[in-house]
């Protein structure tokens, strides 16, 4: 790097510092990022604390239930809360729309699966005042406002010729401007970097935090390059500004909202009502355990009697109704799981398609990257639901087994109950947050690849624009 290049960068900073509009806009954006970071951290901590408290209260209530029939406990159910990922303060992703509290009971899939809000890729349209939102949406605007005149202004003012006449090359001029505005992009990311460093230090998410910062640096440098390429190609600064704002509207506003709509139209998901109707129809087809002539449950009864070597359910060492409950739960859960897997597969196809659209809009690429690394993307939510459903099944079957084994098979009385101490044997839900680097390494690499492609493409364009600058300087 030559001394002239560094001096050009320094002069650009001096101009930014002396330009009141640039200074005010820069300070405002930094304040906005700091405010968004501070409020997001506060909100994150408050939500986390509330969820932990509610979860604890809920567990206490469940374990303090009096003597009951186990099947009543199956329907008493449990609430489980998803703990926030340590970096969720930075990018809330789809959390605000998918919910984090799930009610678990027998015969039913957890309340979050098939929820209407889970219209997959459409959730990518939303935005909140988080550090991620400010960096994705507003920071590019600041970069545009600060950089649009970097080269077009020199050309318009006539100083470009004078600079070249000092014996420096257009490449040095463009490099100096790039250094200056890339450093501005770095300064924009700095408050988020500090917050992520502090928040990730105690949570073991430092690698994710580092990758988030790298991703946003790449994203903002993409915008810096875009601004400089257009500033070099367009003869007047005003025209460069108009072109860049139009580009911002298309890639930040239009495409990230319009493309998921196209995906949703081409890869439709059934609505919750449609799913419930379909599940209801399939449940009927499985059979009715209360119907003595139901062929499936008649076969099941025969199989149970044979297994225990008895000829009548009254002779079973366990309560037959409890066994039927277990079998019914197994069947319905299989059915629910098939529907859930189908819905997840459709959502995965939608999201895979949306991810490829990062080639059309770098915002899509960085948003996917940011949500994944913050642990707030749809895949992370699906993993939570999968763990919850797995737990729900074992929880319900645990109670059904108590019914089968502890409620007398013959003459149980009018209100049969088991001792309350049994509830303590029901294991609690222990959520294991997945590591995004392990479960989404490919997707993270894909997002970085797309951003790298943007950087490489724009860098080539800037090199060509620099050569053209020298020619048009005459």
């Amino acid at each position: 790097m030559s001394g002239a290049t560094v001096r050009i960068a320094r002069e650009e900073w001096r101009w930014l510092a002396r330009s009141r509009v640039a200074l005010v806009a820069g300070v405002l954006l930094l304040l906005l990022i700091i405010t968004a970071t501070f409020t997001s951290v506060q909100k994150h901590e408050a939500i986390d604390e509330a969820r932990a408290r509610y979860q604890s209260e809920q567990i206490e209530q469940f374990y303090n239930q009096p003597d009951r029939h186990p099947h009543r406990m199956v329907h008493y159910g449990q609430y489980v809360f998803r703990p926030l990922a340590p970096l969720a303060f930075f990018d809330t992703g789809v959390d605000a729309y998918t919910g984090n509290m799930v009610f678990l009971e027998g015969h039913r899939q957890n309340s979050a699966n098939f929820a209407e809000a889970r219209q997959s890729s459409l959730m990518l349209r939303f935005g909140q005042l988080t550090p991620a939102f400010v960096l994705q949406t507003l920071a590019p605007l600041l970069i545009i406002f600060l950089a649009f005149r970097a080269l077009a202004g020199e050309r318009e003012r006539g100083t470009l010729r004078l600079m070249l006449a000092q014996g420096i090359s257009a490449r040095q001029i463009v490099s100096g401007k790039l250094i200056a505005h890339a450093a501005v992009a770095g300064a924009i990311v700095l408050p988020a970097l500090l917050a992520l460093t502090i928040m990730s230090a105690s949570s073991g998410a430092s690698a994710q935090a580092l990758l988030i910062i790298l991703g946003y640096c790449a994203y903002l440098i993409v915008w810096t390059l875009m601004a400089l390429v257009l500033s070099a190609l367009v003869p007047r600064a005003r025209d460069a500004l108009l072109a860049l704002v139009a580009l911002w509207m298309v890639t930040v506003v239009l495409l990230p909202r319009g493309l998921p709509e196209l995906v949703a139209a081409s890869q439709t998901l059934p609505t919750r009502i449609e799913t419930e109707v379909a599940i209801g129809r399939d449940l009927k087809a499985i059979g009715d355990s209360h119907d003595p002539d139901d062929p499936y449950f008649n076969d099941f009864k025969m199989e149970v009697l044979a297994r225990y070597g008895v000829s009548d359910v009254q002779d079973l060492p366990v309560q037959y109704a409890g066994l039927v409950a277990m079998e019914g739960e197994r069947l319905t859960s299989d059915l629910f799981n098939r529907y859930a897997a189908d819905a997840n597969a459709r959502e995965d196809r939608q999201n895979a398609l949306v991810r490829t659209f990062g080639l059309a809009s770098p915002l899509i690429a960085v948003r996917q990257l940011s949500m994944t690394l913050a642990g707030t993307d749809l895949d992370n939510h699906q993993d939570f639901l999968s763990q919850v459903e797995s737990y729900r099944y074992s929880f319900v079957q645990h109670l059904n087994r108590m019914q089968a084994e502890q409620i007398p098979a013959v003459n149980p009385g009018e209100d049969p109950r088991i001792d309350a101490s049994n509830w303590l044997e029901v294991p609690g839900f222990a959520y294991v947050a997945p590591n995004p680097l392990a479960y989404a390494g490919g997707r993270i690499a894909q997002s970085f690849g797309i951003l790298a492609a943007w950087l490489a493409g724009l860098a080539c364009l800037l090199i060509l624009a620099a050569r053209r600058l020298e020619r048009i300087a005459r």
Binding site: E11, R157, R161, L164, A165, Q166, G167, R474
Partner: protein
């Protein structure tokens, strides 16, 4: 005052250049020696700016060659530009910087010594920019003051060649006289000056030789005649005739 036979610091040899079908330079040859002021006189579109652009390396001639201190600007533009100082018609400076800061910046880009007391201040003294204005932002400067800053930059760079594009355009008579004094200062430093202009009086007042450029071709070249310099009336008649014949 240098003679035509002095060693050429700036030289054009049979330059030809066209923009599309329009020929702007047609076998132009000229030489400017050290400490010499050469005025290239011509109307709009005569090829003056293209000639300067060729010396600056911004335009590669269709045929012929140019050299700045022996360097061909079409093959080594950065080196050629390092050997010359250029003052455009509309002096482009950074309005948010002071005169000092502008000169310091461009000197840094040129890789030149930019010591304030030993380089910048003497150059500003030579061009006569008052001390109180030197620390002020140039946004409020008149054209004459801006030109002084640009010439001071050229002097501070201490290069052997000075290219001026329409330097007296828009200057009042007093500022033009001051400008002519600046060129004398440059001459005393041994700088070869090529000035593209259509200001006959200014050219006659300061130039050692005047080249009449018409449709890209050097029609005639006249040299100053000792202390008496030029017969301005005769020059004016020649210049007018050429303009009229071109118009006809």
């Amino acid at each position: 005052m240098k003679s035509e036979t002095a060693d050429a610091v700036l030289e054009a040899r049979h330059l030809r250049h066209s923009y599309g079908a329009r020929r702007v330079l047609d076998d132009l040859s000229l030489r400017v020696g050290a400490g010499e002021i050469y005025a290239l006189l011509g109307g709009n579109g005569a090829g003056k700016s293209t000639t300067l652009n060729i010396f600056l390396g911004f335009v590669r001639p269709g045929s012929g060659s140019a050299s700045v201190c022996g360097i061909d600007p079409s093959t080594a533009p950065d080196e050629a530009r390092a050997a010359l100082a250029y003052v455009p018609e509309s002096v482009a400076l950074y309005d948010h910087l002071s005169a000092y800061e502008n000169i310091d910046y461009f000197l840094h880009l040129a890789g030149a010594n930019r010591h304030r007391t030993s380089v910048i201040d003497p150059a500003l003294d030579d061009v006569g920019l008052v001390a109180s204005a030197r620390g002020q932002r140039v946004g409020g400067f008149s054209k004459g003051m801006r030109q002084k800053v640009a010439i001071a930059l050229a002097l501070a760079r201490n290069v052997p060649v000075l290219l001026l594009d329409e330097p007296t355009s828009g200057l009042d008579p007093r500022a033009t006289a001051e400008f002519n004094d600046l060129l004398e200062a440059a001459r005393k430093r041994g700088i070869a000056t090529l000035m593209a202009t259509h200001d006959l009086l200014s050219a006659a007042a300061v130039a050692d030789r005047i080249g009449f450029l018409r449709e890209g071709h050097l029609d005639e070249e006249v040299a100053a005649n000792g202390g008496a310099r030029f017969d301005v009336d005769a020059l004016f008649r020649r210049y007018s005739e050429r303009r009229e014949s071109r118009t006809a």
